[in-house]
């Protein structure tokens, strides 16, 4: 089916990043369609915990993106319904040893210079913020800007808002080809239901963004990095912040394919406690890994002994879209004029989505983006991938 109304932008992917791109582009007056082969939030978004973090990012381009996003999320929380469960709950990073605390403090000092609020926590203060934490921790750091959102609801509400601004949302429609003009410019997509013509195509395909790039004939080496989450029985609000161990930051930035687990524990408004975080590159393997789940459980029980007797009702997995330098691809692709990328956010896609959406909208409209897009250049991997 050919759309009669001319479109300005086709966004491929109805996850959190695609939803944010749809929101900012449609509200800037562009005519937008969103297609996804699955349902809304059907990929990594639906498997996420909804972390909106600045605390786990070291100074650099990703932190700038996170800080911009944090302020955008605050605005969005006022514009979208309360159902998205936005909570400016703050993060607490915990150090078990003096060494670990020293490293954490040094990281925090660097982050403060970039505008991150970070407060040192003595063991006593730590217990005040999180009374159920294990004893004998060396200390920690409090990050009041860290927040949480229910990611599937947030994506769905952003898409609903985009729809009100005129966007078309078409789940269950898979993109099978990228249309190119005689001059080589991207001019739309071919889907399982027909063609959607538009001068701009945004790749918000998340973990599957590399496949979409390949349809356009360009290389974007997105790989899945699997993570498991454990969900407990409903509990009272035992855990007030997003709490994680200091080594989590190192795990996030590790390039290794091997398994890393560091405890990340948080309560939710509906009661269950969510327990992460594991990272491993094992392709799209969907089988439950008993050793990974066991390690997550062990580390969470170490951090919060109160959880030992609590029952885990569910375990699920997601595939983070991993790019080799841990930075997303955001912006126009010089190799395929008209193609923009907004994917590869790894485990930070929910948090970084609004900034990504805003930058994409600005770039499409030819405005000078508020952040420098060079570190996120989609073709930055070509030099290393070049085959002579």
């Amino acid at each position: 089916m050919l759309t009669r109304h001319p479109l300005d932008v086709v966004i491929v992917g109805a996850g959190m990043v695609g939803a944010a791109c749809a929101y900012y582009t449609s509200r800037s007056g562009l005519s937008v369609a969103v297609v996804d082969r699955g349902p809304v939030a059907g990929g990594t978004t639906g498997a996420g915990e909804g972390n909106l973090l600045v605390s786990d990012k070291v100074p650099g381009p990703e932190l700038e993106l996170a800080l911009l996003s944090a302020s955008l999320w605050q605005q969005l929380s006022e514009e979208l319904p309360e159902g998205i469960e936005y909570e400016l709950k703050g993060g607490v990073v915990v150090a078990a040893s003096e060494d670990s605390l020293a490293t954490l403090s040094a990281t925090a000092a660097g982050q403060r210079e970039e505008g991150v609020e970070a407060h040192h926590l003595t063991p006593d203060r730590l217990r005040e913020l999180e009374p159920h934490l294990a004893p004998h921790l060396a200390g920690g750091c409090h990050y009041p800007q860290d927040a949480q959102v229910q990611p599937a609801l947030a994506a769905a509400e952003l898409l609903r808002a985009a729809t009100r601004a005129g966007a078309l949302v078409r789940p269950g429609e898979e993109v099978v080809g990228i249309l190119r003009s005689r001059e080589g410019a991207v001019c739309g997509v071919r889907t399982t239901r027909g063609e959607l013509r538009a001068p701009v195509v945004v790749n918000a395909g998340g973990t599957w963004g590399g496949d979409l790039a390949a349809l356009a004939g360009v290389n974007l080496p997105v790989l899945p990095r699997r993570g498991f989450v454990l969900v407990t029985e409903p509990l009272p609000r035992l855990i007030r912040h997003k709490v994680y161990a200091a080594e989590y930051v190192a795990d996030v930035s590790s390039g290794s394919a091997a398994l890393q687990t560091s405890p990340v524990v948080e309560g939710t408004p509906s009661g269950p406690v969510l327990i992460g975080a594991s990272r491993e590159r094992v392709g799209f393997d969907r089988t439950l890994s008993v050793p990974v789940v066991a390690r997550l459980a062990a580390r969470a029980a170490d951090l919060f002994p109160v959880l030992a007797d609590v029952r885990v009702l569910r375990a699920y997995h997601g595939f983070r879209p991993y790019l080799p330098d841990h930075l997303p691809a955001i912006g126009p692709d010089p190799r395929a004029p008209g193609l923009f990328h907004a994917c590869g956010h790894e485990g930070a896609g929910i948090g970084l989505a609004p900034a990504t959406g805003l930058l994409i909208a600005e770039a499409i409209r030819g405005k000078r983006p508020v952040l420098d897009l060079a570190p996120f250049a989609p073709d930055r991997f070509d030099a290393t991938c070049h085959v002579p």
């Binding site: 349902p39 609903r160 454990l230 327990i275 439950l288 050793p291 066991a294 459980a297 959880l307 009702l313």
Partner: protein
């Protein structure tokens, strides 16, 4: 008969030749048959006594001198039980009662590790290693929501039966039995025999629909005769059988006082103005059974949708799943009843014996041929039964916006509808993510079917197919999981 090296290897490494999960009719038949032929078997079951849901019987302390009074096909069970006892004594079967398997894991050399929890309060973990698995995990009852179904006094029909069989108790004195499927007849009869009055058996489908497949009926004369016997017994017990009707409302403030029964059309849409009130203190309700597939899905077994609208494990004639080393029998492969389960359990065991030993004797080969023939006949009947009682799409019209669909998370039909119509959900997973339906303690076992149907009607119908995934087949304590972690 020569033992294969495979058998020797199994014994040496403390790895059973077969692990059977579930000690209901299918699992019992499989375990006992395999042990009869000299294979070493581990039988894991969540209950404290064998029998599964069908052969639930009063606990020893209740001193039932006639437990068979609550059962059909008791002789087959009594015979299997005594063979099980004999094999337990010789050590041929290790029967792990009170063991709930929460996941299965494949090792590098193709063995299976079955992780179980046991011990109630002081939950402890066990792991059993086996060369092969037979999944005989049974089924639970399918429920459809309707206004008032969360009121105290509304119980599941199979639940009333289970509580009666095991605890010798009734939830009330005047019990309306409603829903769809042949189980309801058995439940209504049991209740009347145990002293309750059952003013009505309300069946949404019509029994006349069985006549659509005369060949299947002709091949299963026993089934037709059983139906006739049930009908006569229900009439003698004073139970009015109301076909093409459904309970569309439950009345009462603190607990059930009456129900409204309405006529439904072929698609199960209630016909306006046909509601009649029937006084009762309990409503026992159910709409067929749903195979429990958690472990099969965890093992990677393919599933297929059945004519009854549920998913079941895909099996070949040897009861093999699509995953090497994994067999399934009974309701796991599609709801079909006790007789079929008994045949399938035995057939699965014979198939494993053939594989483990590299062949079977002529006598067993002949037995397998006969079993396969019976299985085909009964599977045809099960398919007919499933199609007759599959909920018609019109059941959705029973609902009001404030009818709770997910009992655990208290999610109403109205919220599910708006998640579909306003937020774009069109499949079970997305509805779950957007409303929490199916996210509670039961993990969607109770509301799963209803949510899928609602999403299909109100949403864009993007259900990817396949059963719900529940990587943990039951809740497990965090400390139990933690205990499995490598030190350090």
């Amino acid at each position: 008969m020569p033992h294969s090296t495979d058998d020797h290897r199994a014994r040496e490494t403390g790895c059973a030749t077969i692990a059977v999960v579930g000690a209901g009719p299918a699992g019992l038949a499989a375990a006992v048959t395999a042990a009869d032929h000299g294979l070493d078997v581990v039988l894991l079951d969540a209950a404290t006594a064998p029998g599964g849901q069908y052969y639930r019987s009063p606990a020893d302390g209740l001193g039932a001198t006639r437990p068979e009074a609550l059962h059909h096909h008791w002789r087959a069970f009594a015979e299997l039980s005594s063979r099980l006892a004999a094999h337990r004594d010789t050590g041929a079967i290790r029967h792990l009662t009170g063991h709930q398997v929460w996941t299965v894991e494949r090792t590098g050399d193709g063995d299976w590790i079955l992780h179980a929890v046991t011990g109630g309060d002081e939950e402890t973990r066990t792991a059993v290693r086996a060369r092969r698995m037979v999944l005989a995990t049974g089924a639970h009852e399918r429920q459809l929501p309707f206004p008032g179904w969360t009121l105290p006094g509304v119980v599941s029909a199979a639940g009333a039966q289970a509580m009666l069989k095991s605890g010798l108790v009734l939830p009330g004195r005047r019990i309306v039995v409603a829903g769809s499927g042949p189980l309801l007849q058995a439940v209504a009869l049991s209740l009347t025999r145990a002293g309750a009055s059952v003013p009505a058996l309300v069946e949404a489908a019509g029994y006349g629909a069985y006549a659509r497949a005369p060949r299947v009926l002709a091949a299963n004369p026993g089934k037709a005769a059983e139906g006739a016997r049930f009908g006569a017994a229900l009439a003698r017990a004073g139970v009015r059988v109301l076909g093409h009707r459904a309970v569309t409302e439950v009345h009462g403030d603190e607990r059930v006082e009456a129900v409204t029964v309405s006529r439904v059309d072929r698609r199960w849409r209630p016909v306006a103005g046909t509601g009649r009130r029937i006084a009762c203190d309990v409503l026992a309700v159910g709409h067929g059974l749903v195979p429990q597939l958690e472990l099969a899905v965890a093992a990677g077994c393919a599933t297929r949708p059945g004519p009854d609208g549920t998913h079941a494990v895909t099996l070949d004639e040897q009861l093999r799943t699509t995953v090497p080393g994994v067999w399934a029998a009974g309701e796991t492969g599609g709801v079909g009843g006790v007789e079929l389960a008994l045949y399938e359990g035995e057939l699965a065991a014979l198939s494993i014996i053939r594989e483990a030993r590299g062949g079977v004797r002529r006598q067993e080969a002949r037995r397998a041929v006969a079993l396969r023939r019976s299985r085909r006949r009964l599977r045809a009947f099960a398919a007919l039964m499933g199609a007759v009682h599959r909920p018609g799409a019109g059941w959705i019209e029973w609902l009001t916006g404030d009818t709770e669909v997910c009992r655990c998370e208290e999610v109403t039909a109205g919220r599910i509808r708006s998640a579909c119509e306003e937020l774009g959900a069109g499949d079970t997973r997305t509805v779950k993510l957007l409303t929490r339906a199916g996210m509670g303690w039961c993990q969607g076992r109770t509301c799963g079917f209803a949510v899928r149907e609602l999403a299909a009607v109100h949403g864009a119908g993007q259900d990817p197919g396949g059963p719900d995934r529940r990587p943990l087949a039951c809740p497990v304590k965090l400390s139990t999981l933690a205990d499995l972690a490598d030190p350090g």
